[in-house]
Symmetry: C2
Subunit: 162 residues, 2 copies
């Protein structure tokens, strides 16, 4: 890895700060919205996903919200306890559990019209079309590059360090 000039370091830190800010702020807002409906952040996310996509297996849900199965099990446990969702064992594959909204859950979903990331969306819309395209292109490039480095760097290194 080449040495890093202080100038670039500064810029990178600022970009990093912005990414962290955008992420944490969108989480905070989701939580804020959720609180008004007596839900937690992740619970609101689950409700809105089930409303828009329909029933999902626990694994599919885990993928959607980028969490481990074991985490989602807990979230669904609490939502089931509150009567917002129900588990139904699949008949085709009896390992699978389908999660679906109850009437109460569906009603609640309709009462929260705003999508969690609405603010984020409208902020991006304040950009010009050109800026939006640029932003997307560059962010994708960074994300792709991170993926490459991760694949090459960690993985092998991790084994060595053991």
């Amino acid at each position: 890895m080449p040495p890093i000039s202080p100038d670039i370091k500064q810029e990178v830190d600022q970009v990093f700060e912005a990414v962290v800010y955008l992420y944490t702020e969108s989480r905070r807002l989701t939580k804020e919205l959720a609180r008004r409906a007596q839900l937690t952040g992740p619970q609101l996310t689950v409700v809105k996903i089930l409303e828009s996509i329909g029933d999902l297996s626990l694994s599919e849900l885990s993928d959607k919200i980028r969490a481990q199965n074991s985490t989602v099990t807990g979230i669904i446990d609490r939502m089931e306890r509150e009567g917002l969702v129900q588990r139904v064992r699949s008949t085709e594959d009896r390992r699978v559990v389908h999660i679906s909204l109850t009437d109460k859950g569906a009603k609640l979903a309709r009462e929260i019209p705003i999508e969690p990331m609405e603010i984020f969306r409208s902020a991006i819309e304040s950009l010009s079309a050109q800026e939006m395209r640029d932003l997307m292109k560059i962010l994708m490039k960074v994300a792709k590059r991170v993926k490459q480095i991760v694949r090459r760097d960690v993985g092998e290194d991790a084994v060595v360090a053991k």
Copy 2:
């Protein structure tokens, strides 16, 4: 808020995905690095901050890592139990607790030369100077816009919803 065309919605979602990816990946990498030193992610962050800045009060530390005092209290509890840091009551202001690295903690910090966000940094460096400037400019604009909306939108709304 103006209606949103499906095209733009798609783009926004992609940008959002990229931001989430970059954030979660950088966290995952920090955790990965930390694991090699028998630390957790936040603990590694604390160790490196104390190493580079020196002693800090608990509140100052909370600011640095963007967490609540109550969260940091727990992190420091566990680190103290492991003998990595120590608490010292301030003599000027007896409410304040200074956190400092023990010899063991300092030694550990030296043994982990890589900064947690190194990969993120080198990914950004693969951009051209122009792209980097654009990225920073645009991200800043989005972040600033989000801040504006948050200030105006939530806050009043929250009270009404009560």
